[in-house]
Symmetry: C2
């Protein structure tokens, strides 16, 4: 396994319309080469977030867990179909079936992803509702999944998001190594949403290194280049 | 977890027509009560077997693994929808996502099923193609799944199949405790197919106890009765 990439929900789907793929869906997915060796993670986007909001996940609502799960599986199927058209041996991996979160610890079965990659397949895993034993269910994000994988293996980890991290003047920040460096993150930057701030915090807390870049930079990243913003502790 | 039952592919589907539910599908599924505490396993039936035969699973054919997986998931969805109509909080569990077979040992994540049951949910798991690390993929049957669960927990285990085990005169055999007792099994009995013989052998080898009965006896079994054929080592 050489890579783990996360294709953001905002990249794959049209967030303003429920269960709708984005215009860039095809271009982004087609960028992943036939000989890609790694895991593909994707977000829930406008497939999973609306039912999760409508019904809730955490309270053990079986409607919420199941509807969200099914919606994200539908997006997963779209990704897999497109990857297969490009001759990747993509296989679905659905966290609800096996993952759990207990006392904040995420329990993923990474050996399964590793075994699939070793067989020449590409596991495609997604954000999902997962069980928190004795406490119902909880949302496990695609970001969390990427960081779990990146923390276990010494591989290149990339978030293909709406874009790199920008400062308040709209310039690319090439490297972030602490939250204190950029107090404006999440407030002023053009593309810097609260979501981005949370993502950076999670990467720094995980102790792993990852890059955040936009869809146009995915090819560069997969060719070994270093686009976008590097996030890593000093 | 008090029960594990397997709804056979021949009970849920019309084996003569691909991807077609059987006439008894609704009645059988409706027999499972709202307060059922356990796991439901189901076979692949006419959903999963045809694509598995067409494309193969074992040779690492990504078409075979994926098409079979998708077809069985479709059956799984039908079962879950029906159980939900009856107010069971049914959730899908897909073995391809997490299970493996290595040197003949089946690796299932039973703790996940247990956690779901403890939350008041009903995991619905199915036969599937699963990874055999470094050797491609292999079919994991619903029978194998039931026996793995029954071997781990001290619970009532039942195979809801085409019917109980019959002797060569068509009479119900009430108890089977060795293969030697009934040399005719699999050759002469009306309802005793090679599949039944293999099932009995597996149960005896697993060291656990299970009952085999027809769809009409499912209610009796779930009410604590002892219908059909008991299979257990002496």
């Amino acid at each position: 396994m050489e890579y783990v990439i996360k294709l953001g929900g905002s990249v794959l789907t049209d967030k303003s319309r429920e269960k709708t793929l984005s215009e860039s869906f095809g271009d982004v997915t087609d960028t992943i080469p036939e000989d890609y060796s790694g895991t593909v993670v994707h977000g829930a986007g406008s497939f999973g977030h609306p039912p999760a909001k409508r019904h809730g996940i955490s309270e053990g609502s079986h409607t919420g867990v199941l509807e969200t799960h099914r919606a994200v599986k539908d997006l997963n199927r779209e990704v897999i179909d497109r990857l297969r058209e490009n001759n990747l041996k993509a296989l679905p991996v659905h966290p609800l079936s096996f993952a759990s979160i207990q006392d904040g610890d995420i329990n993923l079965r990474l050996s399964q992803l590793e075994a699939m990659v070793q067989e020449g397949f590409t596991p495609v895993i997604h954000g999902d509702g997962v069980i928190t034993p004795q406490k119902g269910f909880k949302a496990l994000s695609g970001d969390d999944i990427l960081l779990e994988i990146a923390s276990r293996y010494d591989i290149r980890a990339g978030f293909c998001s709406s874009g790199p991290v920008l400062d308040s003047d709209g310039n690319i920040i090439e490297k972030v190594s602490s939250m204190e460096e950029f107090p404006d993150l999440g407030t002023d930057g053009t593309d810097v949403t609260g979501g981005m701030k949370a993502k950076i915090r999670k990467i720094l807390e995980s102790g792993t290194e990852a890059r955040i870049f936009g869809p146009k930079d995915l090819e560069t990243f997969l060719n070994g280049g270093d686009p976008g913003t590097q996030v890593t502790r000093p």
